[in-house]
């Protein structure tokens, strides 16, 4: 078994999560793991579709939605909403490059800036509550947009 061509770590993650390992799921999870920031459906679609352009469509629009749903359901991905009201997905296992600091989002140009500040400590929760994720979202206008 030394010559197995290529076992992406995603396959293992998916198998470990107890769901079927399919080409589509591997592709999508790979994309999420490689991404520096959470991706929306459209970005994933064009990224996956564009990569192998030439053959036929790599993944169906609806399938992509369902794959994302399944990844979220089995804990391999997370879903958040961006300021435009669009769902964005990120791999939970991915190195969270953006986990240790706070983000500033310019409502004018849409740009995202990483602030030096550390995220605030999570607040105390009532008995029985379990914390899964904390997001500290700071919005306004960046220096460039403010200058105009």
């Amino acid at each position: 078994m030394t010559g197995k061509p290529k076992i992406s770590p995603s396959s293992e993650q998916i198998r470990a999560a107890g769901v079927k390992v399919t080409r589509q799921r591997v592709r999508v999870l790979d994309a999420l793991l490689a991404a520096r920031q959470p991706l929306c459906h459209g970005e994933l679609e064009s990224q996956l579709g564009g990569a192998e352009a030439g053959s036929r469509r790599v993944i169906d629009r609806v399938t992509l939605y369902r794959v994302l749903d399944s990844l979220v359901a089995c804990g391999l991905a997370m879903r958040a909403v961006d300021p435009r009201g669009v769902f964005r997905f990120s791999a939970t296992g991915a190195p969270r490059q953006h986990a240790g600091h706070v983000h500033f989002r310019c409502t004018d140009c849409g740009g995202v800036f990483c602030l030096k500040a550390e995220p605030p400590p999570p607040p105390a929760l009532p008995r029985g509550f379990r914390l899964a994720q904390v997001e500290f979202d700071v919005r306004g206008t960046c220096a460039q947009c403010g200058a105009r």
Copy 2:
């Protein structure tokens, strides 16, 4: 001129903001001011439409979008995105009942709980950046969902 039927405070706010005072704008701002929580487009539509049901449609769907845009543009209202990805609007002049504390959102049942904790102070921004809004988002599973 003593008998002017009814001058809602919204009219004054709108006039002060320097934009035309129209029936639609007054209605929408009234609704936002009266609301206990941010309202989405659909809620506003049915609320406004239902109130005067009988005559014809009170406000056009598109007009409602545009009125909301204009209220946001002149600073009388604020726009945020809810966890479903839908825009929600609130009057900036309205008593912000939910402004002074942090929210916990259960990713299981979708419920929102108000925590006792105060929101963390906004972080320092680079030169030229202007802060418009801060959101502290805490997610996980609530006691009830966690018990199952």
